[in-house]
């Protein structure tokens, strides 16, 4: 039990359950099938985006270009289908390939030059976004195959949309990667302490490039899922991803210095953010408040994590004194 209490996701899970019960007591509309459906859609999309950022946080860096990659892939995906009348599967593959290439560029330049990933991804953010705008001239693509539209809006049964399938698979794969594979553990080791991880023979080049490639792939998937959901490819897909992409992992207790991430807690962070945004809408609160709220949530999470660290430190101190 006490081991359970220490997990990042446990406290968050409790907050989620009690919060949902509380909201549905006040507003039964919260658990209406339609609302649950909308909630699941927003969770699905943000889950992929949050995972894309989380893997970079794990190695102690940040990726500002997540949204730009998502946007570039989204318009390439729809553009290929509309302008070159390509069928869905090759378009998806090329979309993934673009995400992979973008991630590789980020990772390669970061690790080879040793310049902070923040600056590199800020530059590539503008490059990818500029390519997006240059190609589309800020005009959306509207011609989307029916199958794609169907996937984005149909339900499996009850309120559960088809769209949740891919994010759930991704979350499981990410959990396996971070907890059960040597690559994932190496990433955390690298994020924790670059020098010592190199000393025990972990190749920085490999780790950083892998992490950025995975991040790019996930951002690409996120972009294409948004296309399915919106049923069109607009150039501004991904513009608003930056804040939520950091919010979920931070609320989930990731340390931004790297070396500690929790996939389940990040997923709970995404759900929490979505539920709160949804609740604010149900309670008819100004949508701009959602943004303010998200900001305060990040600050609150930061303070709570800090407090827990502080308590942990004190406890270990007491033990060492004995």
């Amino acid at each position: 039990m006490s081991a359970l209490l220490k997990k990042d996701w446990f406290g968050l899970g409790l907050v989620l359950i009690f919060g949902s019960i509380l909201i549905s007591l006040f507003k039964p509309a919260f658990i209406s099938p339609f609302n649950l459906y909308v909630l699941m859609l927003s969770v699905s999309l943000m889950l992929v985006v949050a995972m894309s950022q989380m893997i970079i946080i794990a190695i102690g860096q940040m990726n500002l270009s997540v949204g730009a990659i998502g946007g570039l892939v989204a318009i390439s995906f729809t553009g290929l289908m509309e302008v070159y009348s390509m069928s869905i599967l090759p378009a998806v593959l090329i979309g993934l390939l673009i995400g992979l290439a973008c991630g590789f560029i980020n990772g390669y330049i970061t690790v080879k030059t040793g310049i902070s990933a923040f600056i590199i991804t800020l530059a590539t953010l503008y490059i990818f976004k500029g390519m997006n705008l240059g190609i589309t001239e800020a005009q959306p693509f509207y011609e989307i195959p029916e199958a794609v539209k169907f996937f984005g809006n149909a339900k499996i049964f009850g309120p559960i949309p088809y769209l949740v399938i891919i994010p759930i698979i991704i979350t499981i794969l990410m959990w396996i990667l971070m907890n059960r594979t040597s690559l994932g553990r190496y990433m955390l080791a690298y994020g924790n302490n670059v020098q010592s991880s190199e000393l025990i023979g972990i190749s920085s080049t490999k780790i950083v490039i892998y992490a950025h490639v995975i991040s790019g792939l996930l951002a690409a998937i996120g972009g294409m899922l948004v296309v399915c959901r919106l049923q069109l490819g607009t150039p501004n897909i991904g513009d608003s991803w930056l804040l939520p992409s950091f919010a979920a992992p931070v609320i989930g207790g990731a340390i931004l210095a790297g070396g500690k991430v929790d996939v389940i807690a990040t997923a709970f962070g995404v759900i929490l953010v979505s539920i709160i945004s949804q609740a604010l809408v149900i309670f008819k609160i100004d949508p701009f408040f959602v943004q303010i709220f998200l900001g305060f949530m990040i600050l609150l999470a930061v303070f709570i994590n800090r407090y827990r660290e502080y308590r942990e430190e004190r406890r270990t101190k007491v033990f060492s004194d004995e």
Partner: protein
């Protein structure tokens, strides 16, 4: 390092200066109207703002941190100023003082939270960015203040020096000199640099590092608010979207100028005039790209490429300086 002359040549500023001159030559020969009075005046108005934004970011980079909330903060301060002048009828001079105080206060919040939680300022300012911008949109209901006093808006469209230069540029250049003086010759300025360069050593020598970091964030807020006022004067109205969604339009120039100017992202080094040259270079290139007609949608792409090229060049320069110094 022994000779006197090559010392300056090796610096980042010198490389920048050359680049600025090269680009001026390229653009004046290859485009019509680059050297026209209208274009130079327009350039001076844009450069003025880019310098100020760059300086506002530079003073936080000094601490080894970042200020993502720069644009949101600047716009919030500007909107506050618009409200003071239009709705409250407060005189211009008092409004400006209030706005600068307000900006410093928002900067203080950034600094205080960063220092108290020990979290990287990136995440703190990411949060405050959305808080400031959200409150600003909520309070103004996304409406602009367009009926500002004429004396204020006239200042923004004033033309000096045979109608070549905007007075806004003079404010920015003067700010550069003041900051240079502060960092070079005053006690507090040296303490700020010491705190950024090596917090532990600074703490041991009796400098309150936390307080210095908060000062840096306040200074950043102050400069961002000043940039907000300047932008308001330039467009003649305070508009919530004048720095883009969440103030993101300011972010690239904010990082480009100090990074091109040779400010270290790890903190502890400021280059006031480097930042100024960096801002000039960015504006020149931006303006030139429009004039040679690459299409407005590709401008962003090229700015990204230039930032990338600049940091890579800087890394190469560092590499060769180290190699040379080892050889000699």
């Amino acid at each position: 390092m022994n000779n006197k002359i090559p010392n300056f040549v090796k610096t980042n500023q010198f490389g920048l200066l050359i680049l600025v001159i090269v680009f001026i030559c390229i653009f004046s020969f290859s485009t019509d109207g680059f050297t026209s009075r209208f274009n130079i005046y327009a350039l001076s108005r844009v450069v003025a703002l880019d310098i100020m934004i760059g300086l506002a970011m530079m003073v936080v980079i000094l601490t080894g941190g970042l200020n993502l909330s720069l644009g949101a903060l600047g716009v919030s301060a500007a909107m506050f100023g618009g409200w003071c002048m239009e709705s409250m009828g407060i005189p211009i001079s008092i409004t400006i003082i209030l706005v600068l105080a307000f900006g410093s206060f928002l900067g203080w919040i950034n600094g205080f939270v960063t220092v108290r939680t020990g979290v990287h300022s990136f995440i703190v300012t990411l949060a405050t960015m959305s808080i400031y911008f959200g409150f600003m949109t909520l309070l103004t209901e996304a409406e602009a203040f367009r009926k500002l006093p004429e004396a204020f808006t006239d200042f923004g469209s004033l033309k000096l020096f045979n109608k070549y230069i905007s007075p806004l540029l003079i404010i920015s250049v003067m700010t550069c000199f003041v900051l240079y003086y502060i960092f070079k010759y005053t006690d507090i300025g040296r303490k700020l640099i010491a705190a950024g360069a090596n917090p532990d050593a600074a703490e041991l020598s009796g400098i309150s590092v936390d307080r210095m970091f908060i000062y840096c964030h306040m200074l950043s807020g102050f400069l961002a608010a000043l940039a907000g006022i300047m932008l308001t004067a330039r467009i003649g109205a305070a508009i919530p979207s004048m720095a883009g969604h969440l103030g993101f339009d300011w972010l690239l120039p904010a990082f480009l100028a100090p990074v091109l100017g040779g400010t270290l992202l790890s903190g502890g080094k400021v280059t006031v005039f480097g930042t100024m040259l960096g801002a000039i270079l960015v504006t020149l290139i931006n303006n030139g790209l429009y004039l040679i007609d690459v299409g407005e949608f590709w401008v962003r792409f090229f700015l990204g490429i230039i930032l990338l090229g600049a940091v890579l060049l800087d890394r190469a320069r560092e590499y060769f300086t180290v190699k040379n110094s080892i050889v000699s």
